[in-house]
Symmetry: C2
Subunit: 539 residues, 2 copies
Amino acid sequence: MMDTPLLLTPFLERAERYFPKKEIVSRTHSGIQRINYRTWAGRTRSLASALDKLNMKKGDRVGTLAWNHHRHLEAYFAVPCRGGVLHMVNIRLSPEHLVYVINHAEDRILLIDIDLLPVVESIKDQLTTVEHFIIMSDESVLPGTTLSPVYSYEKLVEEGDHSYPLLHDLDEQSPAAMCYTSATTGNPKGVVYTHRGIYLHSMALGMADSLGLREEDVAMPVVPMFHVNAWGMPFAAVWFGTTQVLPGPSFTPKILAELIQSEKVTITAGVPTIWIGLLKVLEEYNISISSLRALVSGGAASPRGLIQAYEEKYGVPFIQGYGMTETSPIVSLSKLKSSMKEFDLAEKINIRTKTGLVVPGLEVMVVNEKGEVPWDGKTMGELIVKGPWIASEYYDDTRTQEAFKNGWLYTGDIAVMDEEGYIKITDRTKDLIKSGGEWISSVDLENALMSHEGVLEAAVVAIPHASWQERPLACVTLKDAYKKLVTEQELKNFLKTQFANWWIPDSIVFMDEIPKTSVGKFLKRALREQLQNYFMDTE
Amino acid sequence: MMDTPLLLTPFLERAERYFPKKEIVSRTHSGIQRINYRTWAGRTRSLASALDKLNMKKGDRVGTLAWNHHRHLEAYFAVPCRGGVLHMVNIRLSPEHLVYVINHAEDRILLIDIDLLPVVESIKDQLTTVEHFIIMSDESVLPGTTLSPVYSYEKLVEEGDHSYPLLHDLDEQSPAAMCYTSATTGNPKGVVYTHRGIYLHSMALGMADSLGLREEDVAMPVVPMFHVNAWGMPFAAVWFGTTQVLPGPSFTPKILAELIQSEKVTITAGVPTIWIGLLKVLEEYNISISSLRALVSGGAASPRGLIQAYEEKYGVPFIQGYGMTETSPIVSLSKLKSSMKEFDLAEKINIRTKTGLVVPGLEVMVVNEKGEVPWDGKTMGELIVKGPWIASEYYDDTRTQEAFKNGWLYTGDIAVMDEEGYIKITDRTKDLIKSGGEWISSVDLENALMSHEGVLEAAVVAIPHASWQERPLACVTLKDAYKKLVTEQELKNFLKTQFANWWIPDSIVFMDEIPKTSVGKFLKRALREQLQNYFMDTE
C-alpha cells in the first residue's frame, strides 16, 4: 500500500475542492458572519503564509486564546498544515495557570480574541517565549494595546497569499495540536495531538456506529474550541464539508436555542450544564429544536431526567459521550445496539444514562487489583483505555507515569461494565466515597437527586468521618419554583427508595449555586475544602 | 499519541466481545448455516492454532479457493491475525493462471472448497510450493482425493485451541492479504493488502459519507470473497458486529432475492450483471427487497435503466462504486451531496449514473498531458488515485512501473470530471475508440444502448479502420421478448437522438450472449479478437 501519511492538509483540500459553497456560520461581536469553505480555505492559506513570514518553524507552538468562530477554525489548519503546533489555550484558567501553560508550551506566537486582550495584557510581562501577538477582531484596524509587537489578524490575512501551499510531506506522527487539562491540583498537564491521531479520530467521528458526522449535517460544537479541540468536531466537519455553526463568545442558552432553530442545526455537542440551561429556555420560549438528529453530551454524567426530557418531549436522541483531554476525546457513546431497538422508551433511556459502548478503534477495560472486573453492572474498577488516538504521555511532565502504565491510559474514573459491554462511570477515583470499607458512588447519588422534580443541580462529596473514614454529603441547588419548598428529609426519603441506607448522605446542604470548573463541571475540590469540617463541626 | 498499530486482530475481538450473538449466515452445500460471532471467533482462533501447528510463519502465504461462507471468513482472520498472508485465489482463472498465481505467491498451504477439489487435483503436479491441502466441507470426514498431505478443515477446527491468542504486536505495514487482478493480457498481477490498508479501508466503509456500514446492517456481499476481499465488506462487517449473509456457491438471482427477503438484508454489493439478473427475478416473482437501504454496484458501469428501475420501482438507492483490485477497492461512490436533495428523481438518477465522488481519505484527479483536466464533464483524461489504501506496486512484477508513477496509481480508466467533482468513467484506456483523431467513449454508447427497452446487454469495441484508424462496433443481446423484433437501424436511430453522427457505430451485431470475464465484466478482448476483421471483411 502507498505510504501516504495521515495528515490534516487533505481535510482542508477536500472541503475546498468538493464543497466550496458549504458554509461556516460564526456568531461574532458584530453579528452573524457567513463564509463558505472556498473563502475559508483561501483565508487559511493566507494566514499560513503570514505565520511563515513570522518565521513559524516546524514544531513551533502557536497559541490561540479564542472562542468558537471561523478565525479560530482558520488557525486550526493554518498552523498544523505548515508543520506548526496549535496550542489552544484554555482561556478559563487562572492568570497563574495561563502564564504556566503558555510558557510551558513555549508558544512563540499568540492569536488573541479582542475581548480577551485585557487578560493577556495583564500577564504579558511574565510570558517568556512569545515573540508576536496577533489580534483577532472583525476589523483590520488595530485596537490600542500594551502588547508588542502586535499585528491585526484581518490585515495579515488580507495581505497574505490566498493560494499558499500546505504540506503533504509531514511525518504523520508529527504534533499538530495541544491542549492542557484543567488539573484539579497542581499545574495543568499538556497533551499533544498528532496528525495521525486527529485523522483517525475524525474518521471515528464520521463512522455510522459513532456520531456518523456527514456532509449533510449542520454541526454546532458548543464545547469550546479550546477544550479538547471542541471534541474534534471542527476537524472532522471540515473534512466532510459539513456546515458548521460556531456560537462565538458569551452565548446564552437562548442564543443557542435560536441558532439551532435558525440554522437548522442537526448535531450539537456540549457539557450537561449547557443542556440543562437549554431545556429551561425551551420550556419558556416557543423555539423549535426539531432539526436536531443528535444532541451529544459529555464532560460529566447527565441526569436521567435531562435525557428523558429531550427524548420524550422533544424527540431528540440524547447521546452521552465519554472522553477526556487525553483521549482526543471520543472513547464511548451511549448509542443503542440493534438488539435494543425494540426496547420501550424507559429501557432505551436506561441505556442512554450509561457512559456507553466503546467506539471502533479503541480498547477499554474496567480493572481492579484482580484484573478485568466481571460484566455484571455492579463490580467497580478503574476504566483504562488504549488506541491510536489516546495520548501516551503528558508533555514534558513527570506526572506521566501516574496515568500511563503498561501501554494503557488509567483514566482515574471508576466504572462498572454491564452484560452488554456498556461502561457506566460511577465516579472519579478521587471523588469515590470510601465508607466503612465499601465504595459509594457520588455520581449515582447525584443522578438520583437530579431526577427529583425540584432539584436543578446536585454534587455529592466525601467528608472525613471518625468512625466510617468517609461519609457522603450532598450539595443541592433547587429550581426557582421549588426554592424553600423541598426539605432535606424529603430528599433523603426520595433517595431511600433507590439506595441502601448506608449510601444515604448524612446531610444535604442547600446552595444557591454549586461551584464549577472552567469547563462547567462541578468543582468538588472547592466543595470539599469549603465543607471539610462540616461533620466535625456538627457531629 | 499511543503508537497502537492498525491491525485486524481488534476487529475480531470487538465482534467477539461486544456482539457475540450477532450472526453469520452462510448458504452452504447442506443448506443455510448460522453461527454467531462468539462461535465464529472461537473457530477462527482454533483454525489459527491449527495453521501454526502446520508451521505457518510470519509472512507465509496461505491460499484459499473458496466461495462466500463462514469458513472463508474464518480464514480471513486466522491467517493475518497470526502474521500470515491470505491469498484469495480467483477460482475463475484458467488452470494455467491458477498454477501461475499459486506458484508466484508461493502459497505454502491451500484451503479448498470441496466442490473445487477437482480443479486443484488437475493442477496439483504443477504446484511447486504447496505443502498442505485443507479441504473445507460441512463434514469432518475427508473425501477421497489425490491431494496429499490432506486435512479436514472441520477436524482441524474441532481439535484446535478455541482460545488461541491472536497477535497485537505486528507492524501495521505487514502484509495481511493478497489478490491477483485478472489481467486481460499476460499473467495476473498480484496486489498485497497491509493490515493498515485494510483497517483504514474498513473505517472508510463505516463512514456515513461512504457506505455507512454499521452494526444494525445485514450485509450481503455477493461479490466473491476471492475478488478484492469482497470489496472489503467482510472485514469491516466483523469489526462493526454487522450481521453477514454469505451466499455460498452457485447461487442464482432467485436465490439472492430470496436471501434478501428472508434475512432482511439491508445492504448488498455486486457487479451490474448480478443486478440485471435480480431485476428479472423481481419482475417474475413476488419477492420483496424492501429491507434494502442500499444496493452497491461496481466493477463496471451500470446502465441508467437499471439504476432507474431499482430507484423508481423498488425505492432502493442504487449506489455505484468505483474501485479496482489495486484500490482495496473503494475509491468513489455515486452518493448525492446535500445540495442535491431537492433534485427531482431524474436529476438524482443522473448523479447515480456517474462513477461518483471520492470518499474521504483518498485523492483523485483526471489528467491529460497538460495536467488536471477542467471540471466540465466533457474533457477526457486518465483517472489517477492516491491514498493509504491504494497499492504502491504489483507484487514481484516488472509491470509495476506501467501503473505506478510519481506517487499515483494510473488506473487505465478514461474519465471526465463534472462541475461538482463527480467522476464519470467513460472508458478503459485500451477500450477507448480513437476515430479520426477524436475519442469516442465505448461506455457511453453501451449505456445508451442498454437504456433501450429491448436491449439486455451491449458491448462496444474498437475495430481497425483504414481511413479512420478505429471505428466503433456494437454487440447487442436483446431481451427474450424483443428477440428478432429490434433492428440494427432502429438502434442506430435511437443512438442518433443522443450522439453526434460520427459516434454512431458502423455496425451493430446481435449475439445470444456477450463473453464475460471471470468477474462478470464484458470480455472486450475476446470480442475484439472475434470481430477484428469484421470491417475489413465487410467493407
